[in-house]
């Protein structure tokens, strides 16, 4: 028996992406659409429920920070800024908390069917992205009512959302692969998620930090990609007079570092997932 006359394709075992990228994309899309549909299936008020979480959080924070603690009082369009930040954070929170356990939750599938493994975490992020789109509709309605003008800089939106997706995808890929072996990744991530929320100028505007600790404000935006994203979103879509991410970070050099951190998170996540993907079926 020689290997030279062997026909067909050699088996390589399971991989993150599989041999056929179209199959990976198709599967990711199908899974995401299914999950998205399921959320609204059989519930006439489905969309309202979807909005409820960010809206409630917004309501509470808005009352607290405009009436009791006057943090956002002198900030231009503070309610819209606050709501946008919350909706963006909801995306991160939703994608990552579902994402961490996604591989384990689909154990039956992974142990019994061959398919590109990365489709699972990617579909989780895609579903969250659909929800972000829905939530954004509410933000736009709210912004129009509040009298926010449309600026040409809105065209930056796809880039900003792209950066956000890269950041989140990296985290989801890394944590979902690690969670297969180490089950305390989930509580650890929950803590980090809380830190991310308070380490980002969402409920407090960056100006509050800038007034007292100008250097700290720069480092927050530089080292935390989400802070840069939120800041740039505010600058591009709501209030052009607010600092852009580059200004808030203290220059383009610093913002380049933010970009590198984002890419490192995405790259690291991809790398770890690719390395673990062939073995997740037996480690589950």
């Amino acid at each position: 028996m020689t290997t030279t006359n062997a026909p067909g394709r050699p088996l390589s075992g399971p991989t993150a992406l599989g041999g056929d990228p179209r199959r990976f994309l198709r599967l990711t899309w199908t899974l995401a659409v299914t999950n998205f549909k399921l959320r609204f299936y059989g519930s006439a008020l489905g969309y309202l429920w979807q909005l409820m979480r960010p809206l409630l959080l917004f309501g509470v924070l808005y009352v607290v920070f405009t009436q009791f603690v006057r943090l956002g009082g002198d900030i231009h369009d503070y309610p819209v800024v606050l709501l946008t930040g919350i909706v963006l954070f909801t995306f991160i929170s939703e994608a990552t908390s579902t994402g961490v356990s996604s591989i384990v939750a689909n154990e039956a599938l992974i142990r019994k069917v061959e398919f590109p493994r990365m489709a699972i975490p990617c579909s989780v992020v895609l579903t969250a992205l659909f929800n972000l789109g829905l939530n954004m509709v509410a933000v736009v309605v709210f912004a129009v009512i509040s009298g926010v003008d449309l600026h040409s800089s809105i065209i930056q939106l796809p880039v900003i959302v792209g950066a956000l997706v890269a950041f989140v995808l990296g985290i989801v890929l890394f944590t979902s692969a690690m969670y297969v072996k180490y089950r305390d990744v989930q509580p650890i991530w929950d803590v980090i998620l809380q830190m991310l929320f308070y380490g980002t100028p969402v409920l407090y505007p960056i100006e509050v930090v800038q007034d007292d600790f100008p250097r700290a404000a720069e480092w927050i935006v530089t080292l935390n990609p989400f802070a840069a994203i939120v800041q740039q979103m505010r600058h591009a879509a709501i209030d052009p007079t607010a600092d852009s991410a580059a200004v808030a970070a203290g220059g383009w050099g610093h913002l380049a570092l933010t970009g590198l951190i984002t890419l490192a998170i995405l790259g690291g996540g991809l790398l770890v997932f690719r390395r673990r993907a062939p073995y997740v079926a037996e480690e589950l």
């Binding site: 028996m1 026909p7 075992g13 899974l31 549909k37 690690m178």
Partner: protein, 420 residues
């Protein structure tokens, strides 16, 4: 023609951690612990070729590595060593209906399943109607499948499997589910797949199915190939391996790597309750056993072979022309066979105190597979029954057969089909 599936030197081992590290915390606190892993070798240097259009059976006991082999071929596990080539499109069915979403209707599930198995969206949509028709679910296609009966779910899963154009199919005991009517449908489908000339690798415990469908088969034991060839021969070998152990001292079953295979047959459940004995003390039956066709003592008798029952009688007093015999009962307590010198040997002889005699009944093993109990007896000659010694269910044996029928016996027969 080049083989459809070619496997060369495939090996796969799993880590069996002596102390499983489950958390990052433990990992940090005990950085050296993970190095004490042991490895369990599920497959060792497995090589075989499957010709195009062949129906190839992979048999073995729990933990023999057959599911691991299938999962390596299916691309679910990565093999440690060796290589495998598949000529054409491959579809693996480890379980029916994996990935079904209970909150969706049949149509959506078909689409998801088909995309997962590698069809394009258009291909999946094109086949939906056909699949629903095949499963006979036209009336229920808009119902959420959580409202389906289990039989309907299985039908849907099987219909999808049958409609993925694969040149090579890997099937893992999916037939073990469903009612008799559904199983029949599966078998019909099997015949169709075979007639279409597709290559099938079929993993199973069911030797009957192997003999019926497989052209060739392979027997795995502890991760190694122990037999390969005509399915009938492999089937016999499987029974020999399987029951040799059952007869020997009870052994811990080897760890099943996924724990999803059925529990091994429990031999102790077949033991008789309290064997009763009738004796007048003039002689005693000391020992009884079964012999296989080679004349050696055996706990398992292959169906269709010539075998024997033997017992040793020791006389305590002189007895003239006693009768020797035994009855054979199956595990349903039906007497399937009785043999006695009463009908063959009028005068068996005169035995004095201290004499020992072995009597042996040779017979053709026409019995169905299962456990059998022998009750040997020695009796006084004459009218009426006067036992000297009778030991109820004193010996037992397993009849191994690849056919499973409900009948007590399975005698040789021929069937002619004559067109009217």
């Amino acid at each position: 023609m080049p083989p459809a599936v070619s496997v060369q030197g495939l090996s796969k081992s799993f880590r069996v951690p002596s102390e499983q590290v489950h958390t990052l915390k433990e990992r940090v606190l005990h950085p050296l612990r993970a190095h004490r892993d042991e490895r369990f070798e599920a497959l060792r240097d497995v090589s075989f070729d499957v010709e195009p259009g062949e129906f190839f059976g992979i048999v073995g006991r729990n933990g023999s590595g057959k599911s691991t082999l299938l999962k390596c071929l299916a691309g679910i596990y990565r093999a440690d060593d060796g290589a495998a080539w598949i000529d054409g499109r491959l579809s693996a069915f480890i379980e029916l209906g994996v990935g079904f979403n209970m909150d969706l209707a049949a149509r959506d599930n078909i689409r998801i399943n088909a995309v997962m198995l590698g069809l394009s969206g258009r291909q999946a949509r094109g086949r939906e109607d056909e699949i629903i028709a095949f499963a006979g679910l036209e009336q229920f296609q808009d119902l959420k499948i959580k409202n389906y009966s289990s039989g309907m779910l299985v039908r849907l899963g099987f219909a999808i499997m049958a409609h993925v154009d694969a040149d090579v199919l890997l099937i893992d005991e999916v037939l073990a589910v469903g009612d008799a009517a559904f199983q029949q449908k599966c078998y019909d489908q099997f015949n169709r797949i075979r007639d279409e000339g597709r290559t099938v690798l079929f993993v199973t415990h069911d030797m009957g199915a192997v003999e019926r469908y497989c052209d060739r088969a392979m027997l795995l034991e502890k991760g190694e190939i122990v037999a390969m060839g005509k399915s009938h021969r492999v089937g016999q070998e499987y029974l020999r391996v399987n029951f040799a152990d059952l007869h020997a001292a009870p052994e811990e079953p080897p760890p099943s790597e996924d724990g999803e295979e059925e529990a091994p047959t429990d031999a102790s459940a077949d033991e008789p309750e309290e064997p009763s004995r009738l004796t007048d003390g003039r002689a005693e039956i000391v020992r009884a056993w079964f012999e296989d066709s080679d004349g050696s003592e055996s706990g398992a008798l292959p169906h269709g072979s010539r075998c024997a029952f033997a017992a040793v009688v020791r006389f305590n007093e002189q007895v003239e022309h006693p009768l020797f015999g035994f009855v054979l009962q199956n595990d349903r307590d039906q007497t399937v066979f009785a043999a006695s010198t009463a009908w063959t040997e009028e005068r068996s002889g005169v035995f004095g105190a201290g004499d020992e005699v072995t009597y042996r009944v040779r017979f053709e093993n026409v019995f169905s597979g299962g456990r059998y109990f022998a009750t040997p007896a020695v009796a006084h000659r004459g009218a009426g029954i006067a036992w000297i010694d009778r030991r109820e269910k004193f010996a037992s044996t397993l009849v191994t057969s690849t056919r499973s029928t409900d009948a007590a016996v399975d005698i040789p027969y021929e069937i002619d089909l004559v067109p009217a």
